[in-house]
């Protein structure tokens, strides 16, 4: 989008195809956006986003799917729901980002940052195996794959001291039930 700054974007429609798609598929109407920026001001990762939540909504309005699929924010959003919680119009921005992520993955778009997909895959694996995600085992898996053993080690130690990290994985009581559910879901998807 930045590279084409000197070619005006032509607004041929009063809304974009993506805007209509969101309304149809996940029932989110971004016409209610007041453009106030409360979502972005309080976004827990907004300071490192290339496009803040308000701009993401605006990009949907402009129908700029390329920028949306390629942006960094798509992969570093924590889905913490603060934007939704604070939005005066109740626009479910995390759901929009989920939808866009799904679309990007389906289209095979690679995240701009390294190892994002690996981390997500490992996290889902962890969830599939144990029914819950425990930070320490997940981090060990991730570091074994990437070889970055000492990255964030200091932060991890601090978190451990504050009791935010437990070395013992927590497990759900009947993980086999979850496994059954997941396999059913998988076969359903194949049909």
């Amino acid at each position: 989008m930045d590279t084409e700054i000197y070619t005006p974007l032509r607004l041929d429609e009063i809304d974009s195809a993506l805007q209509r798609e969101l309304k149809e598929k996940i029932d989110i109407d971004i016409e209610t956006c007041l453009e106030c920026g409360k979502c972005s001001g309080g976004c827990s990762n907004g300071h490192i986003f290339d496009y803040t939540p308000r701009k993401i909504v605006q990009l949907v309005k402009l129908g700029d799917e390329e920028t949306l699929a390629g942006m960094d924010a798509l992969w570093i959003c924590l889905s913490c729901q603060l934007c939704l919680d604070r939005c005066p119009s109740g626009i479910d921005i995390p759901r929009i980002l989920d939808y866009l992520r799904e679309k990007a993955v389906t289209r095979g778009v690679k995240a701009s940052r390294p190892d994002v997909h690996l981390f997500m895959e490992l996290m889902l694996e962890e969830a599939r195996d144990k029914g819950r995600v425990s930070e320490v085992p997940l981090m060990i898996r991730f570091k074994r794959k990437t070889g970055q053993y000492l990255k964030d080690a200091g932060l991890g130690f601090k978190m451990f001291l504050k009791g935010k990290l437990s070395p013992f994985p927590s497990r759900m009581q009947k993980p086999e039930g979850l496994k059954k559910l997941l396999s059913e879901r998988k076969s359903e998807k194949k049909d």
Binding site: M1, I5, Y6, T7, P8, L9, R10, L11, D12, E13, I14, D15, D29, E31, T32, E35, R54, K55, Q58, L59, L62
Partner: protein
């Protein structure tokens, strides 16, 4: 009629003047309502619908005119202008001129209410918008005429319309640093009406922000955006260019910081509200205060008083919507009645 009953001259037969004359007449004093146009109603008479309730302004004008006609304390003088006015004894001596037959007559009044209304600034000072050059770049009042025509049957269906807000208003380089207050609402109304008439039309409103301060106003604008699907684009348009018989509008989407453009058939300029050109001279003759723009200025700590025995209501004081004009008309009448009962 008893000559000892006090008499008020109301200048201007729009909603403010009509309401003021009506209340004075109903209170048992005499009112002379002077209107330059052949019909009462002022700017309101030219409007197609209203905010925030989509009511027909003609109904309101009709009701008021009927009530005025039914009150024998009120004299209505249409097609009549004020020629000269001066203070005389404890009141005014005013010469009125009939605009059709040229005849003039002198009347005495114990008080005057100014309700001369407002105008739109001449948008041709903006060369970049091409008002007065492109026939389809028109101002909001001209667009009301077009809306009326469309309501009665459209010759051709418009495909795209762009509304520009803050044309003149909030532009200190053109001499209008103030917000004209009513444009946000009437533009939303006009844009909504276009979508009602032609659901397939693409309607864009270019805005810096929309100011919807009033009961039901914010809801009105949101309905126009969300239910009638008018596209609001944040940014003040920079240029209108001809393109294959249509009009190309260039602006910045200030929310993203990128230049955008749209192609439309008609551009509607919500020009700044200004006082009528002759209001300043009239105010001077009557001893009323005016501000730097020519709007009537109230005396300190008053709402609708501008001098000894001179009151005002409606758009001549500052831009105001129909509700405001009616309220100020009633307020001016109340001030006059209180003044008469005291003296």
């Amino acid at each position: 009629m008893d000559d000892r009953v006090k008499k008020v001259l109301v200048i201007g037969g729009g909603p403010a003047g009509m309401e003021a004359a009506l209340k004075i007449g109903q209170a048992g004093f005499r009112a002379v309502l002077v209107e330059r146009e052949p019909d009462l109603g002022g700017t309101l008479r030219k409007l197609v619908s209203s905010f925030p309730r989509w009511e027909n302004p003609a109904d309101l004008v009709g009701v008021k005119v009927q009530m005025l006609e039914g009150n024998r304390n009120i004299e209505r003088l249409t097609s009549t202008a004020v020629l000269t006015a001066e203070r005389f004894e404890r009141g005014f001596r005013v010469t009125l001129k009939h605009l059709n037959n040229g005849g003039s007559r002198e009347i005495r009044a114990d008080a005057v209410i100014l309700a001369t209304g407002f105008d739109l600034m001449d948008a041709s000072v903006y060369g970049e918008y091409g008002y007065g050059i492109y026939p389809n770049v028109i101002n909001s009042l001209e667009f009301e005429d077009r809306l009326r025509g469309w309501k009665e049957g459209a010759e051709s269906i418009p495909k795209g319309i762009a509304f520009f807000k803050c044309v003149g208003s909030r532009d200190r380089s053109k001499g209008f640093p103030y917000c004209s207050k009513i444009c946000c609402m009437y533009t939303a109304k006009q844009a909504g009406l276009v979508k009602d008439l032609f659901p397939g039309a693409k309607v864009y409103v270019f805005y810096m922000d929309y100011r919807a301060a009033g009961k039901g106003y914010e809801e009105f604008v949101r309905d126009v955006i969300e239910k009638k699907h008018v596209r609001y684009v944040r940014g003040r348009p920079a240029k209108v260019l001809p393109e294959k018989g249509r009009l190309l509008v260039r602006a910045e989407d200030t929310l993203m910081g990128i230049p955008v453009e749209v192609v439309v058939d008609t551009v509607v300029l919500a020009s700044a509200v200004v006082p009528r050109a002759d209001t300043r001279a009239l105010a001077k003759m009557l001893g009323a205060l005016t501000d730097e723009y020519g709007f009537i200025e109230p005396l300190p700590y008053t709402a609708v008083r501008s001098g000894e025995r001179v009151f005002f209501a409606g758009g001549c004081g500052f831009a105001c919507e129909t509700q405001g004009a009616l309220q100020q008309g009633a307020a001016a009448a109340a001030e006059v009645i209180a003044f008469f009962n005291k003296s």
